[in-house]
Each structure stands twice: as structure tokens, then as C-alpha cells.
């Protein structure tokens, strides 16, 4: 496999890097205004599209959202034109359709009671897309705008900006122990269990489920699926499982901790290390009190930083071992380079840029970097790209293909066994870290 210079403008991986860095540079130079998001609402659905300040309606979000749609369409169509994957007008029409469906997904997800349940936009975007693809069928013009891979990869490069290495030390050695010792052990355990014991044929699905269980659910599943170039159905299945179990763990872990009379800090670290999504961790931690909420959220945050490292290692492992011809020679450095998913390098580069250039350039003030660049620009845009990606996945999937991934329920067994192992190991390490080795850490 050879790679030539024209890969720089013909390969989706590189375009994800160009898009991601164009946005980051635009943000750093203050060229990009605050990115609009579909608003929150309780009883009146129209409130989601209103700009409300201090209880007073100041206008609608329709124009900002339309501007965003046009801006993203113009940016991404450049890549589509160079890659020659679709006709430009067909892509633009399809993109508008996917964007509107993503707005619908965000609109459902931002309803107050749905947010209390922890059901994120990823679920609703998938369901909205699946509704169309499995009933009337996704029309060709809409399918042209469903560029799942391009949206996922661009979102991941932007996610790199949010992975700040300074966060690793937020809780000192015990936080590192819980988040960074357990995670790789669980990933390796689940990989071996899935491939050797359960003998699952779909190794990519094994890796995605392992990453989702051990790191941070949906985000880790997205990163790993892209790193090992998994099928859309694999990601859908892993995300579905992780969303269901996240809600169950959010409901029952704090109750179990209370019933056992466990130290709240220990319980918080346990939940932070095991519940998949950060929002559910915050909610579950809050049940135990403000200190537990803080510790749980920070443990999860430290674990979040592992996404980039995990994506890099998985991509490398896939290229050097899993994709290797059985009995064939070990690929040399150039072969590894050709096959390596380049957007992962964009993800790591974005993380390094923000961690070691942008943060130091602002006197090490992480909060200032977050409030100036990440919160108003890169983070909401990452959310939009992921939402577009999940809508696209739904539009390109059908229930028959999803059912074929089930392998007699083996993915579910893998998740349950892996999560059980994760629960036991995290509790043991959290006990050791917070109640034995570093008793005065917090």
C-alpha cells in the first residue's frame, strides 16, 4: 500500500485534520463567534429555539443555526469536492437534511426531563436516523450528506482540544491510580475475554465495547471505532449498550453505596471510575453529597484524558497486529505509516497543542482557555459533528444488520462480564488509593 502527496487532499483522514485545525486556529484568532446550540426547554418546545436572557426572550436561534449550517456546509463541501465522493449540490442538499435531523435530535435531548434521565443526543440522533432508514428508506440525496466517517473524524480532532494533560493531576496520585491503572487492565481483560473466551468473530466490536466500558462510554466508543475502522453497526451496538447500562448504574450505584455504608469519597471514586458518561457520574455522585459529586466528576475527567492515548494505541495495535496477514512478516515503519489512521495524529496533535502551547501561553490558566476557546467554540462544534455523525449512522443502518452483530448475545455477555470486572477492580484500587496509601490526599 503506497501513499502519495495527493492523499493530503484526497483522504478523509487528512480532511478531518484540516477541518479540525482550521476551526481551532479560527477559534484561537477569535475569527469564529460563539457557536449556537439548540436550547433547553421544559414545557414549551419552541423555547429550544429562543434566545432567553434572565427570563426575557431576546430573539430566535433560527438565524444563528442557519448560519452555522451554511458555515459547516461550505467548509465540508471543500473536502467533498477535492475527494470527489459526491456531486457538490447533492452533498449540500443532503447535508442540510442531516443538519435539520440533528437539530431534531438535539431538540429532543434538550428537554428538561430527558436530561434528568441522562439520555444524550447520541441516542436520539441514532433513533431519528433509524426511523427514516427503516421505514421510508433513506433517499439518495439525503444519503449523500450522511458523511459519517468525515463527521466522526472531524469531531474527534476537535475533541483533542478538550483533552488537556494538566487535568491528569487534578486529584493527585489517588485519582491517577483509579483512572489510569484500572483502565488499561480492563481493556486488556475484555479484549482477551471477548476474543479468546467468547471467541467473538467481530474483533472491532470487542475493542469498542472494551473501550466504552473502561474509559468513558460513547466518546471512547467513537474514538476507538474510528481508530480500528469499525463498521457503523458496531458503534451503534456499543453505544446502545453503554447508554442503557449508564442509566442503570446511575440509578443503582449510589443506592448500593449508601446501603453498604461505604465512605462517600471511596464511593465517588468508584462511580467516577466505572459509570460510563460524565453526566451520569455527576448525577450519581450528587446523590452522596457535594464532595462526592466533585470527586466523582474529577475522577471521570482524569479518565477522559485517556481517550487520545487509547485511540493511538488501538490504531497502532490494529495496524501492526490485528490487520496483519497470519504468518506474514511484521509490517515495517513505512507500512505502519501508510495504514495508520492519520486523524488520530490530528487528535493527539490538537491535545498537545492546547495542553503545551495554548495553556502555557495563557499563563497556565486552564479555566481561561476553556472559557475563551473550548466552551464557546470547539466543544459545541465537536458536539455538532458527533450529532451529525450519529444521525448519519442511523440513516445508513438497518435493524437487520444490527441484529446480525449480536452473535447470540455475546456482545452483551462481554459488556456485563467486563463491567463486573471493572466494578471489582476499580473498587479495590480506589480503596487502596483513597483509604490505604493516600489517606491525606483529600
Amino acid at each position: 500500500m503506497k501513499e502519495s502527496w495527493n492523499s493530503l487532499w484526497k483522504n478523509e483522514d487528512y480532511w478531518a485534520i484540516w477541518f479540525g485545525f482550521a476551526i481551532m486556529i479560527g477559534a484561537l484568532l477569535h475569527w469564529i463567534p460563539k457557536i449556537p446550540k439548540v436550547g433547553k426547554w421544559s414545557d414549551n418546545p419552541l423555547n429550544a429555539f429562543m434566545v432567553v436572557k434572565d427570563g426575557v426572550t431576546e430573539g430566535t436561534l433560527l438565524l444563528p443555526l442557519l448560519t452555522l449550517m451554511i458555515g459547516l456546509a461550505i467548509m465540508t463541501v471543500i473536502g467533498v469536492a477535492f475527494m470527489k465522493t459526491d456531486r457538490i449540490w447533492k452533498y449540500l442538499a443532503g447535508f442540510a437534511g442531516v443538519f435539520i435531523l440533528s437539530c431534531v435530535a438535539y431538540w429532543i435531548a434538550h428537554q428538561t426531563n430527558i436530561r434528568y434521565w441522562g439520555l444524550s443526543y447520541a441516542l436520539w440522533a441514532l433513533l431519528v436516523g433509524l426511523l427514516i432508514s427503516n421505514t421510508v428508506g433513506t433517499p439518495g440525496w439525503l444519503r449523500a450528506g450522511a458523511k459519517t466517517e468525515m463527521f466522526i473524524k472531524t469531531g474527534l480532532v476537535l475533541l483533542g482540544a478538550e483533552v488537556l494533560f494538566k487535568k491528569i493531576l487534578s486529584l493527585g496520585p489517588p485519582g491517577l491510580m483509579v483512572a489510569w491503572i484500572v483502565t488499561p487492565v480492563v481493556v486488556i481483560f475484555m479484549w482477551l475475554y471477548g476474543t479468546k473466551k467468547l471467541k467473538m468473530k467481530n474483533k472491532k466490536l470487542v475493542m469498542i465495547i472494551a473501550a466504552a466500558t473502561s474509559v468513558c462510554g460513547v466518546s471512547a466508543a467513537i474514538a476507538t471505532s474510528a481508530a480500528c475502522r469499525a463498521k457503523k453497526e458496531d458503534l451503534t451496538l456499543a453505544v446502545g449498550m453503554t447508554l442503557i447500562f449508564t442509566v442503570l448504574m446511575m440509578f443503582f450505584m449510589p443506592l448500593g453505596i449508601k446501603a453498604l455504608g461505604m465512605s462517600h469519597i471511596l464511593g465517588a471514586a468508584w462511580m467516577g471510575g466505572t459509570i460510563d458518561s460524565t453526566g451520569a457520574v455527576v448525577a450519581a455522585g450528587s446523590m452522596l453529597g457535594p464532595e462526592a459529586e466533585q470527586v466523582a466528576a474529577v475522577v471521570k475527567m482524569i479518565q477522559n484524558v485517556l481517550i487520545g492515548l487509547l485511540a493511538f494505541v488501538v490504531a497502532l495495535y490494529w495496524v501492526t497486529s490485528v490487520d496483519r496477514t497470519p504468518g506474514g512478516p511484521r509490517p515495517d515503519a513505512m507500512e505502519i505509516w501508510y495504514r495508520f489512521p492519520k486523524f488520530v495524529l490530528g487528535f493527539v496533535a490538537a491535545s498537545l497543542l492546547f495542553s503545551f502551547v495554548v495553556v502555557p501561553s495563557m499563563a497556565g490558566d486552564v479555566a481561561a482557555v476553556e472559557s475563551s476557546f473550548i466552551d464557546p467554540i470547539t466543544s459545541p462544534l465537536r458536539g455538532w459533528f458527533f450529532c451529525l455523525a450519529f444521525t448519519s449512522i442511523g440513516l445508513e443502518s438497518n435493524f437487520r444488520d444490527l441484529a446480525s452483530q449480536m452473535e447470540g448475545g455475546k456482545p452483551m455477555v462481554l459488556y456485563v462480564v467486563g463491567q463486573s470486572f471493572n466494578l471489582v477492580l476499580t473498587l479495590a484500587i480506589a480503596y487502596l488509593a483513597f483509604l490505604v496509601l493516600f489517606t491525606n490526599a483529600i
Binding site: Y116, W117, S120, W124, L127, G217, S219, G279, N440
Partner: protein, 86 residues
Amino acid sequence: MSNTSKGLNRWGRFAAGLTMLAAFAGFFMSGYAPPGVCGEVLRHNQACEIDASPLIYTDVEHMPSLEQGVQLMREAAGQREAAESR
């Protein structure tokens, strides 16, 4: 089957699917919380207005205050340890 009836069949399936999706979303939008201990966390989220849906820490609106809380806890622990060693 004629094209017209195939089309009607597809749109019928769409209407059924849309109804199911609306019912599914409507159930969660209704504010229902399971009775007893099963709904305890949900009722807590409703009472304290806790958004449980963020996927990653940067999506959590009050994350800076949570980080600051841990920072203060660590500083207090450091001072406690220094006082004990004296």
C-alpha cells in the same frame, strides 16, 4: 404489489415508527419517575436540576466549580497534614 401500495406501505411504516418514537420520547419527557428506590436518583436530579446527559467533562456546565471544589479539598487536606506533622 403496485408501486402505489408499496409507497403507502412505507409511509404507513413511517407513521407507525414516528408514533413509537414520539411515545418513547414522550414517556421520558413526561417527568415520570419510577416509584421507590428505583426512582430516587431521578427524583434527586429533578429536585436539584441535574443534567445527567453530558458525555464528556467539557459538556458539564458546572465542571469548573466541581474542579475548584476538589482543589479546595486538596488544599485543606494539605493544611491538615502540615498541622498534624507539627
